[in-house]
């Protein structure tokens, strides 16, 4: 087919940031998938709860302390995370490096407390359906913390290499920060479910 040139794209930037980047949309789509997954597990929790004569089944509700501690840590981590995202937007490599190291360390904290959270459920996954669903909720969320932490660590290493100074990398840092916000946001309903619904 013959062609006629009607538009010059030469002036466009070599990489889009934020909503102009495909990775941003990709991250969003994966968040939608996982968000649906979380919503469904919570739905399963509510469904089983509605069937049971007593809830939790044959156990007291879980201890509040470790879970609440994780919640506080996660909520506090939002502050450095949002700062980091802002530094990435400003493309300030020095601050981004500091921020990435910080987030790598902060990311391990909830995992440490999580180790105590599982016993605090006071039920094993194979005791009954209640145990199965709370372990699944907690396990699923823990997997998300772990994967995001690994992602953060790799990215932290990357920003210290020669590949660090590029808009693409700053975009990655922003997407990573967005994902951490998502991990924190999904925790809140799960926390309410595991610790407070069981007390109603």
């Amino acid at each position: 087919m013959r062609e006629k040139i009607v538009l010059d794209l030469g002036k466009l930037p070599l990489h889009g940031m934020g909503t102009a980047s495909v990775t941003w949309w990709g991250t969003l789509a994966f968040m939608l998938i996982e968000g649906t997954g979380f919503a469904l597990v919570i739905a399963v929790y509510l469904y089983l709860m509605s069937l049971a004569t007593a809830w939790p089944i044959n156990t007291p509700p879980p201890d509040l302390l470790p879970g609440t501690l994780v919640t506080l840590i996660l909520l506090t981590s939002l502050i450095p995370n949002i700062l980091l995202s802002r530094w990435a937007e400003q493309q300030d490599l020095r601050k981004v490096r500091i921020g990435m190291v910080m987030m790598s360390m902060i990311g391990t904290l909830p995992l440490i407390v999580r180790i105590f959270e599982f016993p605090a459920l006071k039920v094993s996954w194979d005791s009954n359906a209640y145990g199965s669903v709370v372990w699944t909720l907690l396990g699923l969320h823990t997997t998300h913390i772990i994967t995001d932490l690994v992602d953060t660590l790799v990215l932290a290493a990357l920003v210290f290499t020669r590949h660090g100074r590029s808009p693409r990398r700053f975009g990655d840092v922003q997407d990573n920060a967005m994902y951490w916000n998502f991990v924190v946001a999904t925790w809140l309903p799960i926390y309410g479910c595991i610790y407070w619904l069981a007390r109603l």
Partner: protein, 637 residues
């Protein structure tokens, strides 16, 4: 953002046409040889592979169908015992749904959607390569297990407790569940790629109301995949947990629930059927234009019907559970919502009829398949409306009436358009035309054979024949019709065989195709047949819904892209205004490594929960290798 002045960059405006295409071909090429084939991220190569593989699974599933039909031709037949038969119908259903129908539709879109929206590669091309490998591994897992007499035997929806730890002994149900995990991962990955491609990589000027209907259909389908598949991932994972580590999700003795499985499965399973069906109607809406020789009537209506079906799809799942003993009032709500699907379905049928009415039809094989589709799909849709009625369904649920319904909608509603689409897009994929004479023959054989095979099943169902029985007793009045059905299936199979022969013959000896042999209006026909590795030498600029029809004196295009790195255009969501020149990743072998690592982890986890822990390490390594920058021009910006 500062342009990277350091690199000596090469732009398309600076060079002659011949040099331009040479430079682009060099930048976008897939090296020949095995390594090149394994590392490629070209959506066309992967799409072709995907389509080919899916059709292999169709043929395999068809062979299983033939075995079932031989067994059922006579009462008390001894060809297959119950154990084999149960594996065979489960394999047939699971294979057709998860390894053929869903993947083939996504595969066609992997090939076509980037071309139709005028971009150079799909978004996240490496993920695309990965998703193909994972799909292949899932299919191989299922079929190898079947060959080892370990094929699942619990039906394609694997109801608990039959598939649970107590009654589903051995590893058969785990194979089923893990095959699901494979296909879901790959389907989800493709859905994300398609959404982002369609949202962000459309050619400049392709506003929302200029998107071809097939692309719209794939967008809606991808959202269905994204919202529905997590339910089956959750279901199959919790089933494996019940079986492997002793959780009690589905064990009523410990607070679990048997119907929870059905809710989760069908919350996915119903949208699943529209995941198969919507791409097919998208194909019809797109193909009908060149053969009716006018634009499809009611673009807005067609698109709205797709979206409405997509939304309603999530409110229907209970219609598969009408006799499970849920409250009758709730059931009636699902009757209403299921019937409501007839409205968007009707809108589409009526719009196509109007298009044909006002158009000037050209009776080539793709149009024949469209006509066959309308005739048969309406039967299937109407039987769908019948089973949507709770009282009606109490008589026909789990009988051959339902078997007839879903083959009418699956084959009539999805496979017919797909076969039409193969005839239609074959020249684009291969550069050669399919034989029209063979095409017409195979259409008639399939059309007649199909109706003769499946129509009598309605009657069998009403006469009391349940589905999933490996045999029936001679004193039941079913043998006459069953024999008729089995004989008709021979005609049907002959039709499919002829179709396969036509494809294989035409791929080698077919007439050389023009760039736009059907005089079609959408962008994939604006490039060569088959398209070059970079799809378009210059990105098209779109001014209407039918760019190829409207700009016959020359396609408007844009320049200014670099030729020394893989570059494509990111545009805004609604109005498709250019936002950035984005680099598209190079070929890479890492997706294959990642797929192998994932495969090992998933198969191992059928046997031990620790596989998830140890197996994730190589997977993580492969993923790091995948994303770590290699210092190619694509990494700069």
């Amino acid at each position: 953002m500062k342009p990277s002045a350091a690199a000596p960059e090469q732009r398309d405006i600076d060079v002659e046409r011949a040099q331009l295409t040479d430079a682009l071909a060099e930048t976008w090429k897939t090296p020949s040889g095995l390594w090149g084939a394994l590392a490629t991220v070209d959506h066309k190569i992967i799409g072709r592979r995907y389509i080919f593989t899916a059709f292999v699974f169709l043929a395999l599933g068809g062979v299983l169908a033939a075995l079932m039909r031989i067994q059922l031709a006579q009462p008390e037949a001894r060809l297959l015992g119950p154990d084999r038969y149960n594996q065979i119908f489960t394999m047939h259903g699971a294979n057709m749904m998860f390894l053929f129908a869903v993947p083939v539709m996504e595969a066609v879109a992997v090939y076509l959607a980037p071309l139709m929206v005028g971009t150079r590669n799909i978004a996240f091309p490496r993920l695309n390569a990965f998703s193909y490998w994972i799909y292949l591994a899932g299919g191989a897992l299922l079929w190898i297990a079947f060959a080892l007499d370990m094929g699942p035997d619990v039906g394609w929806f694997a109801y608990v407790p039959l598939s649970g730890p107590q009654y589903g002994t051995g590893k058969r149900a785990d194979i089923w569940a893990q095959m699901i995990t494979f296909t879901e991962i790959s389907a989800l990955a493709v859905a994300v790629e398609l959404v982002v491609t369609i949202f962000k990589q459309r050619a400049p000027g392709m506003t929302l109301d200029r998107i071809p209907v097939f692309v719209w259909a794939m967008l809606v389908t991808s959202f269905l995949v994204i919202m529905a598949m997590p339910a089956i991932v959750l279901a199959s994972t919790s089933l494996i947990l019940d079986r492997l580590v002793g959780t009690h999700f589905y064990n009523p003795a410990e607070g679990g629930d048997v119907l929870l499985w059905q809710h989760l499965f069908w919350f996915f399973g119903h949208p699943e059927v529209y995941i198969i069906f919507l791409p097919a109607v998208g194909m019809v809406s797109t193909m009908i234009e060149p053969f009716a020789r006018r634009p499809a009537f009611g673009y807005l209506g067609l698109v709205m019907a797709l979206i409405a079906t997509g939304i309603l799809a999530f409110g229907l799942w209970v219609h598969h559970m009408f006799v499970a003993g849920l409250p009758r009032l709730g059931d009636s709500f699902f009757t209403a919502s299921s019937m409501a699907i007839a409205i968007p379905a009707g809108i589409q049928i009526f719009c196509w009829l109007a298009t044909l009415w006002d158009g000037r039809p050209v009776f080539k094989s793709p149009l024949l398949f469209i006509i066959g589709f309308i005739i048969t799909f309406v039967i299937g849709g109407l039987t769908g409306v019948m089973v949507a009625s709770v009282p009606f369904d109490t008589q026909v649920h789990d009988t051959y009436f339902v078997v007839a319904h879903f083959h009418y909608v699956l084959i009539g509603g999805a496979v017919f358009p797909l076969l039409g689409a193969v005839h239609y897009w074959f020249p684009k994929l291969t550069g050669r035309m399919m034989s029209e004479a063979l095409g017409q023959w195979s259409f008639w054989l399939i059309f007649v054979g199909f109706n003769a095979t499946f129509f009598p099943m309605h009657i069998l169902g009403l006469e009391g024949m349940p589905r999933r029985i490996y045999t029936y007793q001679p004193d039941l009045p079913w043998h006459g019709l069953n024999l008729f059905v089995s004989v008709s299936a021979v005609i049907l199979t002959a039709g499919f065989l002829l179709f396969f022969i036509n494809v294989m013959r035409s791929a080698r000896f077919g007439e050389i195709a023009l760039d736009n042999p059907w005089d079609a209006p959408t962008l994939e026909w604006a490039t060569t047949s088959p398209p070059p590795s970079y799809n378009f030498a210059m990105i098209p600029v779109v001014g209407s819904l039918h760019p190829v029809w409207d700009d016959r004196d020359g396609l408007p295009v844009a320049d200014g892209l670099r030729t020394d790195r893989r570059e494509l255009i990111v545009t805004t969501l609604a109005t498709a205004e250019p936002q950035a020149r984005e680099a598209s990743p190079q070929n890479s072998i890492w997706p294959l490594w990642a797929a192998i690592a994932t495969t090992i982890m998933l198969i191992w986890s059928i046997f031990s929960p620790w596989a998830v822990v140890w197996g994730s390490i190589p997977a993580a390594v492969a993923l790091i290798g995948w994303f770590w920058p290699k210092g190619t021009p694509e990494d700069e910006s």
